[in-house]
Symmetry: C2
Subunit: 403 residues, 2 copies
Amino acid sequence: MASGKILVAQGGGPTAVINQSMVGVALEARRHHKVELVYGARHGVRGIVNEDFVDLTQETSHNLELVAATPSSALGSTRDKPDAKYCHEIFEVLRRHEIEHFFYIGGNDSSDTVRIVSEEAHKAAYPLRCIHIPKTIDNDLVGNDHTPGFPSAARFVAQAFAGVNLDNAALPGVYVGVVMGRHAGFLTAASALGKKFPDDGPHLIYLPERTFVLEQFLADVKATYARYGRCVVAVSEGIHDAAGVPMLGLLAKELEQDAHGNVQLSGTGALADLLCEEIRSKLGIKRVRGDTFGYLQRSFIGCVSDVDQREAREVGEKAVQFAMWGTQDGSVAIKRTGFYSVDYELLPLAAVAGKTRVMDEAFISDDGTGVTDAFRLYLRPLLGSGMPDAFRLRAAQVPKMAR
Amino acid sequence: MASGKILVAQGGGPTAVINQSMVGVALEARRHHKVELVYGARHGVRGIVNEDFVDLTQETSHNLELVAATPSSALGSTRDKPDAKYCHEIFEVLRRHEIEHFFYIGGNDSSDTVRIVSEEAHKAAYPLRCIHIPKTIDNDLVGNDHTPGFPSAARFVAQAFAGVNLDNAALPGVYVGVVMGRHAGFLTAASALGKKFPDDGPHLIYLPERTFVLEQFLADVKATYARYGRCVVAVSEGIHDAAGVPMLGLLAKELEQDAHGNVQLSGTGALADLLCEEIRSKLGIKRVRGDTFGYLQRSFIGCVSDVDQREAREVGEKAVQFAMWGTQDGSVAIKRTGFYSVDYELLPLAAVAGKTRVMDEAFISDDGTGVTDAFRLYLRPLLGSGMPDAFRLRAAQVPKMAR
């Protein structure tokens, strides 16, 4: 065969650094004399079955660098979750185009797609190298110290909470911020890195790794408000009751499900509004405000971790190197080797595909509404350099005049 | 008298640069040998009547600089809207402490408080210099080219829309982002500065300067979606029907009002959720997402305009200079003198107090759902340096293979 053609695609929710990985693939592949053409599929697997390809070898390295620094998936993405038939179509298109290496940048669902396509190629005895490149702000891929995209989203969440804490201190009340992350609490827990002084918020953090009990939540808010005269709360969109039913599901009449069977937890302010209404009505606190961080946290332009940028570039480069010099399909994974340094390894696709990682128990405080120093130590180097900082007046109190 | 005492306080909603103005007052006042003590009131006018003062002359200039660069009101703020009796109490406390100069950093309501306190002092023939220092992300103070705090919030909104546009392009659908600003559309209009390529969002912008008609809104979204296969919409929290009733009011059962009689438009995701539900049900579009930018847009740490920072510092400095060398009470106002340069003047308090500025007609496009180049030219220099930029792939389309 020796067509020298490779294909790269991006799947699932965009991140601030997913283009770094795509450009890492393109630029590294272009350095290999065996590679003739680097194709990009528009809108992930959907672009593959539709043969909607662009030729990245006809793109300048200057513009590729500019795109790498631009958030969201430049090739476009998709929420399609291919079944066996869909994966067979993918494979047929790859074969027709004589693609030799297939790189798919995505999360759990994307890794599962790569696994099935890899099996299709094996069955057909077609020499296709399939590499999954990790990406998700949820940080929920097993076998990875962390996933590209998560550090930048975590930085946004930490900065957002550092800011709303200051706002809440100026105009005291209760503030509830709802954070993405689905069934993993990492991104919500990142709010703790916005805390500087002991009485700073977030004072309470609710993770999907714990059962959410509304009465306990209200008692926690009440106690915090009594102590500080204010309360800043970080809540994961994925909080659920003891039966695993999402809190959002307990109140919404009709829940949209995507093609993966995932309930749509994002894109609505309903959870924050419900919790605020509970606080207002049950605790009688007047100033209660809720925000849902929504799409800002994954696509905001201008809040990115430089560590995340570099690693996202590297997983793309490493994917090509594993493909060129290795003999196996797999999923590139980040391993932490020092404080702070990383290396990359290629895990079997089956070890990653369709599995969900959640917060380690050692990262969650005993009371279940905070994080441990182990988590702070885990996350801090990922946030990168130049984190903004908050300072307070320490000026002396003036004695009151006798009236 | 010659106590050499001045007092500074911060009122209303915090901004990213309000501490620059407070520190501008403190540091400039400390350079005047006539000034002995610089007091700060905790939580605005409430701190005055409670005699809750800190001594800013016992604060290092280093820490003042760190606080200046920190968002939100370091002295604390208040939503109290003093009536005549409350203002009399303020004046009595100022007199008791022999305050000679009173500086209040705030928006419309704060300027009105300064006006009443100024009149109290005149009535009592007490030599009190009262200066209002402008601050509001809503940009709705009359007599000002723009107000400190607005440029940084506008930058956040522009960056947020630049990001969600990229997200929406990757995973097409309809996106609705609700922006603060009350009855002035400036902050919502700032979303237009996030647009780079002709087909970028926001494709539609709904301002409170125009009557909001739900049917027209749905027709606009439908036409945009038909044209681009996606649609990004910026909506002001203050949109209202022909009778002036807020759209949010038309759906919410009970609206919280603050002490100023202002309806609480912020702190709830209800408006975005309602509009999304209308789009889903009436237009049959499946992927519809809504975000309410909420408190992030005014308190996010790490998204600030350097132009805004410098001007916020200058209005504080100028306030002290007007007080020291001038002979009148007043409100410091920003005048644009070049592209781009500003100067400051002192307006009579009555010229600013309690009035609301809205978008100039020349800033709104004829169709009412966009902004003009005049607005882009007005806003661009305020956003400051180092705005992040977005780039696209321009790679060539690969021909489909015959099947």
